[in-house]
Every structure is written in C-alpha cells, then in structure tokens.
Symmetry: C2
Subunit: 363 residues, 2 copies
C-alpha cells in the first residue's frame, strides 16, 4: 500500500461519520459531537496521528470495557480558583473540554482557573483544549500524561508518556501563538511514519532495549524506549525528562490518576499494570484571564509586535521563514478547510471497517 | 590561575559579606538579607554561575543606574487569584520573592495564585522562588525572561534568553522534586566553564554568527547564539524555542515588561536596545495549593511512590543511579552546608575587590 495514495474528505462529512460512530457506541449526541470535533480538528491541523486514524483505537478501548460512554463527570473538590475532576472513565475527548470549560469559568471570576482531572482517557490533541481559552481572550494550558514509552535519562525502562504540554495565547491581527509539544524528542507518530515508509529514523529519537541509541524504529516494539526532549545527557535529556515528569505530576499525582509506568496503555491489547495507584489517566488544564493581568488590547498589540519581530529575525538560509509556534498547523488548517482532509488508504480502510460494524457509511 | 585552586567559605560568612555589600549600596537590611540569601542558596545548590560570582555584576548594574535599591514594589492590577506587579526597577532577588509571597497568599485563599512581574531585574536561581511554595505544601512555579542569547529554530539572531522554568513539588519522606531548567540546550554558565578550561564544547549547544553548529565557546561573543533545548530541528529545537517563548510571553507580554530581543542585558556595559516596548525584565510566579486539589498527605504518599519507582527504574549502566529532578542540587547542598562553599580564585578576587570599595572584608 503506497504512502502516496491519499483520499480527500470534506471535513463536515468526516465529522458526521465519526459522530455517528460515537453515537453508535452509546455516547449522547452532544458528547459524540464534541468528541468528533476534537478528532477532526487534529486532522485539520495536520496532526494526522491524533485524528480519525485513532477512531478505531477508541472503539477497541470501549470494547475492552475501559471507556464509559455515559460518564457522570464530577467535580470532587474545588476552591474558587481550582477544581479536581473525576472523569468517570469517559472519553478524554469529552472529559477534557468539559474540564477546560470549568477552568475558563473560574478564570473569568478570579483571574485564573487551574483544573486537574483523574479517571479519564486519551484526550486527543492538547491544542484543542488550550485553544478553547485563547478563543475567549485567555491563555490556555493543557497537559496530559500518557502510556509509558519514554525512558528517563540513564534508564533502560519506559517510565513516562510522550506527555505533551500546550500553551495557547491569543494575539491581535495574527492567529494565536500555540506551542503544542510532546516532551519527548520525537512523538510516536513520527516513528510510525518512518516505519510505514521503511526509513531509518534520525539518531536521538529512540534507544533499544539495552539503552543504545538506535535508528531502527522497530526497536520501540522490541523493548526500546523513546528519548526525552534533549535526546542525551550532554544535550539536555534531563530537561526533557524533567518536563515530562512535571506533566505527569500535575496531571496525575495532583488529581489522583495513575502516573509513570502505571498509566493505562492506549492500545487495548496491552494489559493494565498491577497495583495501579490511581484512576485512569490524568490531565491538567489551566487558564489565565488576560484582562486580570492587563488590558487585553494592550496585550494583543504586544503579542502582535512579538510575532512580527520573531517572523523578521535574520534567517540562516536566505529564504527560510522563521516560524511562530502554531503557524504550521494554521497553514494546514486553511488548506484542508478548502481542499479537504487527505487520508492514506489504510486509514480509510480502517474507518470503513469501523463503519461497517455499526452500519454507518463513510461518505 | 588554576581552575583547581578552591577556597572554602562558611555559608554564613559568605552570606554576611554579600548582605553587607547590598546594604552598602543602599538596600534596607531586610532586602539585603533576602538578596544575599538567594545568592548563597545558588552556591549551596551547586549552581555556581548564579551565586556570589554574580555579585559584582549586580553592583555594576546599580552603578549604571539600572537598579533601584529602595524600590516601591506595587501590585498594579489584581483579582483574587492573580496579580500584576511593578518591581520599580528593584533587584530581581528581592522583587521575585515578594511576588511569590503574594502568589502563595492567593493560593491559600482561592487554591491557586498566578502573578506576573514587570520592571524587575535578574532574579537569581528560579528554584529559590519556586521552593518558597514547596516549603508550604504547595507546588511552586517560577519563570523569568533574560538577556537575548538564544536563536529560534532557523534563525541566525539572538532573540530569547535562556529563559528558565522551575517547578517545585513537595514530597513526603523525600526531598522535594525540583525541576529547574534553562530552555536552551546548555546554560551560559556551562560555556563559561568550558572557556575557562580552554575546552571544546559539545556539538548542539552553540551556533556561530552564520548559524553553523560550532564547538568553540568563543563564537558566542563573536555574534553566535545558544541553541534552544533540542539543539536542531530534527531533534526538536522548535520545542525548546517554543518553551522559551512561553516563558517570555508569561513573564513579559503578560506583565508589561520587555520581551524577546528588547530584554535589558545583564552585563552593564551593553547598551539598552532602542524603542523598548516595556519596563525592565519580567517574571512569572505561580502557586498551586495542594490541599485545594486533594488531601496533602495522600498527595505526598503518591509523590514518595513516584520518586521511589523512578529511582528504581532499570539503569542502562549497571551502577548508574536514575536521578530525581532536584536530587543533584540537594546532594551539593548537604555537602556544602557541612564542608563550606568552594570558590575559585578569580571569584574570590572579584569579591575582595567589591568588598574593598565598600570597606567590607571577606572573612
């Protein structure tokens, strides 16, 4: 199957399909709408690894009894600037936006809202949740822990997820600044792409079972581990390890979810680890209300100046553009809203098979 | 002058000396005490580049009229969970702990406190401020922007500081987890050490004026730039660039301080950049009150388990210890509290010269 065989789909058609699948497994219409919106936004932004390609993974988790399609999401503790939420084993795609809405509400009243979430599942792209705040003139922060794939500096064991952190900041005339990054050197999706293409990966992404740097992506499945951002001790892998740990602690130790090697795997065929210390996996969602700190218009003018100045930094190669965080994803989105979302053939087949089970046809 | 000629000082003696110098330039006794405490803590923790070695730098900034020794630190805007502070051009060593105290106070009332600071100066080690919160069973966050030394991915221009972020998290029977990291691949202090020793630096830390990777630390002063964490595009330098940008935005765009290439240089002989958009440099201080999220004792038990599990991760080399963020600094502190703070000869001379000007003798 060639990497180059793409089929293009209208975003609205794809979203309707995904929504119908989520309704078919028992989600409410509103929850199915929200979950499908999160997945389609990933595809629109060019994060193909986190979009509809994952739909069948969520369905398998539901079959394995690990997702509750009618969760009673509860605030189990709160103060006026904070909340702790139990996601009742719901889809992270649904739990996280609801937690973010609570953080936004709190930030509108006391200036900031910090919310931690336990008993959830994978929440898709962090940017979706953080952007809920930047859409409302607030700074949004979203983090989640994830299945252990990353080794701490000096270790030959998978202890942390690719644990992303996202910061979304509104600007004035420019699109928002959106830094959305896995705290590993490379996200797992990049290895999958290399593997499909049969290509070697760069040094610095992966170590094998013994802890040696390797350029063979297959070594991940043979007991290897992804490397933290910084790749090796000399270039600062202890910093990537530290950042990933911070995401783990804020998302899970603070909420009562599972942390470190106990985080439940996304793939349903892997068993849960024994003696889990918490519930499900965890997220952290934070909001800073700009108007609480300074006049929002002044802030936006400064952000515009920040963006312009960085765009105009002297490039190394003459025609190289200096990119603003979030800019590549925005370019993808503009293009895909016009031309459609391109899906590779095996993703299309996977979606068709999922659809067939519920008698839903892919447009 | 040999790198190996160390003189050992009792922490209390060194602190008294530094305090007297700060009093001699006009700081109040309380402010001088606080500022000297921040510098000594850096030396105790083994961050020699941020301790008393910087004292003469602060004095030169004061001589250049860039530090106000009797600042009126003001809250210029606030809500119950947030504050914006104008540091009145005070020492960051004094402004930041006072801002942190406000964040802690707010977190004790509404669960979290988020404070941004403009019109300040360099604040020493981020960990000092973040640990003020972890000492009170809260999670502390401290960030600051700094003089431009780091190039964004694809750029040949210094646009960002080494912009550190620190997260301090209390544990139970273990010392706190403290992740304190420059968002560049290597902090500037590491280049200074290599230069003193006449050694090549590793590839991945620095680029020369044209943007080529270089192993010669001197290239920094010849128009080169430090590289963001991740070092190059393939290994994720866009992530280090993004994180550094987030620190810049939260510390300065949100507070009304200078950002990006406009941040005032720490060295007094460099001129300020024209058309500065804000006041001084900026910090961001955040606090999460653990009790607001869950029972503090439960949290600490989970942190202890987290720490134990990570300490016991399988090492690559048989006798290699897996380190917990903050552990190396704690080891330094235990040792130096007992054996004294070792200073190299040129730092001692520098201190003596500073002392002479104010008729204060180094013990």
């Amino acid at each position: 199957m060639s990497e180059n065989l793409y089929h293009s789909f209208r975003p609205a058609d794809l979203k309707l399909f995904v929504k119908q699948v989520f309704e078919a497994i028992g989600c409410s219409e509103a929850d199915a709408d929200l979950a499908s919106d999160v997945l389609i936004e990933a595809d629109l932004r060019g994060i193909d690894s986190h979009g509809v390609a994952r739909l069948s993974g969520y369905i398998r988790l539901w079959e394995a009894g690990r997702i509750n399609v009618i969760p009673k999401i509860k605030v189990i503790r709160e103060m006026s600037g904070t909340a702790t939420i139990d996601g009742d084993a719901g889809l992270g795609l649904v739990v996280a936006p609801k937690a973010m809405a609570i953080a936004i509400e709190k930030a509108s009243i006391v200036g900031s809202g910090m919310v931690t979430v336990s008993n959830s599942n994978h929440f898709g792209i962090a940017a979706y949740h953080a952007m809920m705040a930047s859409d409302k003139n607030m700074i949004g922060i979203a983090m989640t822990n994830a299945s252990p794939l990353v080794a701490p500096t000096f270790a030959a064991e998978r202890m942390l997820g690719t644990n992303p952190m996202c910061f979304a900041v509104p600007a004035g005339k420019y699109p928002p600044f959106i830094a959305d990054l896995a705290t590993s050197a490379a996200a797992n999706g990049k290895l999958e792409i290399a593997e499909r293409k049969g290509k070697k990966i760069p040094s610095g992404w992966l170590q094998d079972k013994e802890g040696n740097d390797t350029r063979n992506s297959k070594d991940l499945k043979r007991g290897g581990a992804l490397l933290p951002l910084g790749s090796n001790r000399e270039m600062g892998s202890h910093k990537g390890y530290s950042l990933s740990s911070v995401v783990d602690i804020l998302s899970a130790v603070l909420s009562g979810a599972n942390y470190g090697p106990w985080v439940p795997p996304f793939v349903s065929f892997l068993p849960l680890v024994a003696n889990m210390p918490g519930k499900g996996l965890g997220h952290f969602l934070g909001v800073l209300n700009i108007e609480a700190f300074r006049d929002t218009d002044e802030f936006k003018r400064n952000m515009d100046q920040w963006i312009e100045r960085f765009k105009n930094a002297i490039p190394i190669e003459k025609n190289q553009k200096i990119l603003i965080p979030g800019e590549p994803e925005m370019t993808f989105k503009m293009e895909r809203l016009k031309l459609g979302i391109p899906l590779i053939e095996n993703v299309v087949k996977d979606l068709e098979e999922t659809g067939k089970r519920f008698s839903i046809s892919l447009a």
